[in-house]
Subunit: 342 residues, 2 copies
């Protein structure tokens, strides 16, 4: 087999706060060799995800990255070597690999899947037809369980997950209210992603009143990507038997020490609210159905999405840091090499 | 129909903190008359319940009592007049009525039920075979959903609900750990109610360490009757996909202003914990099954319970206040008149 020179980004140091580019380093070495049953992928796109803050934090998490190893990431690329009978060279595949040009993956992994480049741009396999779409779909429908007529509030509503949540909720017959930072993002919410209302939390000094005005019938589902004081306020406005999907905690920079907020238990008790942590990987069995529905909605023109694609693997750490500064204009991807399908 | 002289306890003033006897007043007037389809009950026992703090609070709640009206309470008594074809005079019935000698009730109400005085002392209709047993049964089994081998932690574990939760969890094959205040109550937990371990929170200056020692495999279900800092600590020890049943918030004296605690959302997210408010009245359809199971377990000697019975309706406000001081020695009931079955 041909030996490929590889470039990859490793984690040098774990984060105590927001991810900084200095925590990472780009290294060059030989590409790994796939073992029995494995495949070698030449990545085209890798992602920068808000959840990565937790993966590299010194605090415990569901998906830690060890120092000295390649930073984990979602990726889509082309198989260049296959030791698996069902995967052939040249196939486009999405997998959970890392910030690297060449990666080895196991096609038996539940998150490995083939991608049809005729369906949509292959970059969508990392966004609306991938982790973001699946996260929105499973978190909203499986945990949030919206009913037609419900009011669904979403934070980071202009983001890749939030915008998908809002649009899926709309497809399911709900009233949708987005929370985002800045007039550009709130305009995206209402004009591109079809939210019924959007609140600019940066321009609002009374979130409680702003929410009440946008949610005259209260809130039935809160899909929460931020936590913090926004969650505190929402909990006071959740209707009887409402649901809170805890999908992210972007509003809190560091969990060491654990910060204080308003006690939630009385709100939970009085209105019998269910507040539940959600991790998309618990729902991989629903991914095929999610993909089927999302692709159909995409083809029907019911799902808008936005991407912000940076050039070159070495830009990944800065792309990650930019997420928390809100500088990205859509799903933050990194193009590792020219996309062979555009 | 005979006109009965009535005595009842009314709420004079709503509470901003713990219920004080001065908030109530005993008044005398004529007994009410049952309307079409209704019955008149001569109560034998009424209850004092920890949840009453919320019912009379100035803060919003699921079951508010208005000033000037009879204090709501659970009751068991004898029907003295019936306008309902399925209820006859002399029948023993449990209902949600109030602190009064004579009360009118609607047999079509979902919480109205007849009581067989041959099954057990009729006072148990307000405890282990009534609201406490149903609350424990439905909250634990429907919301907590324990599996054999799970570790179930219960607060106010020596109390009427907590002790039933622990015993039902034990019957379901769980390891049970009780939290209670004082050596007398922890001894009750392990010696009378069969908990595998009990923690005296008043004698422990490191609850985190005490819980870890008592729960070497972590916590799968926390049945929470107190909230507050105990909940904060528990949330750091709940296992993957653990459940927290929010049944009461006794540790917090006042919710105005809403007090601060540790932010829960990161714990919920990392371990995908479900934290859910529980109100027993949402599960009245399960009460008949709960009664069947609880009665069988009681007859099998698998369910211990304790009662603390005060004499005379006028003692009810003091009995209620005593709950929060922890002076009661079991389910706090008030005997309104001599029990005709003992």
């Amino acid at each position: 087999m041909a030996q490929h020179q590889n470039r990859r980004v490793i984690l040098k140091e774990r984060a105590t706060g927001l991810p900084k580019p200095e925590l990472f380093e780009t290294v060059e070495d030989d590409a790994p060799s796939p073992g029995p049953g494995e495949v070698l992928i030449n990545n085209v796109y890798v992602s920068a995800d808000p959840g990565m803050k937790g993966w590299i934090s010194v605090a415990r998490n569901y998906a830690s990255v060890e120092t000295g190893t390649t930073m984990k990431a979602f990726s889509v690329g082309v198989v260049v070597e296959s030791n698996h009978p069902d995967v052939r060279e040249g196939q486009v595949v999405a997998a959970n690999t890392g910030w690297a040009e060449y990666v080895v993956a196991d096609p038996e992994s539940p998150t490995f899947r083939t991608v049809n480049p005729d369906d949509a741009p292959i970059s969508t396999a990392l966004g609306i037809l991938g982790i973001n779409g699946f996260t929105a779909y499973c978190g909203l429908l499986e945990v949030g369980q919206p009913k037609p007529g419900d009011t669904v509030v979403v934070s980071t509503a202009a983001g890749a997950v939030g915008s998908a949540v809002g649009q899926i909720a709309k497809i399911k017959g709900c009233r949708t209210v987005g929370i985002a930072g800045g007039p550009e993002k709130t305009a995206l919410c209402t004009e591109v992603f079809g939210f019924d209302a959007a609140i600019d939390y940066k321009a609002t000094d009374d979130m409680d009143a702003a929410l009440r005005a946008s949610c005259p019938d209260g809130v039935d589902v809160y899909y929460d990507n931020v936590g913090g004081t926004t969650l505190d306020i929402l909990l006071g406005q959740i209707n009887l038997h409402g649901r809170v999907v805890i999908c992210g905690t972007a509003a809190t920079e560091s969990w060491i020490p654990q910060p204080a907020g308003l006690r939630p238990e009385r709100n939970l008790l009085v209105n019998r609210i269910r507040m539940e942590g959600f991790l998309t990987f618990d729902f991989v069995k629903q991914y095929p159905q999610a993909h089927t529905d999302l692709l159909q909605w995409l083809k029907d023109g019911k799902l808008a999405y936005r991407e912000d694609i940076a050039e070159g693997l070495e830009t990944a750490p800065a792309g990650l840091a930019g997420l928390y500064a809100g500088t990205n204009k859509g799903r933050q991807l990194i193009r590792v090499r020219p996309d062979p399908f555009v």
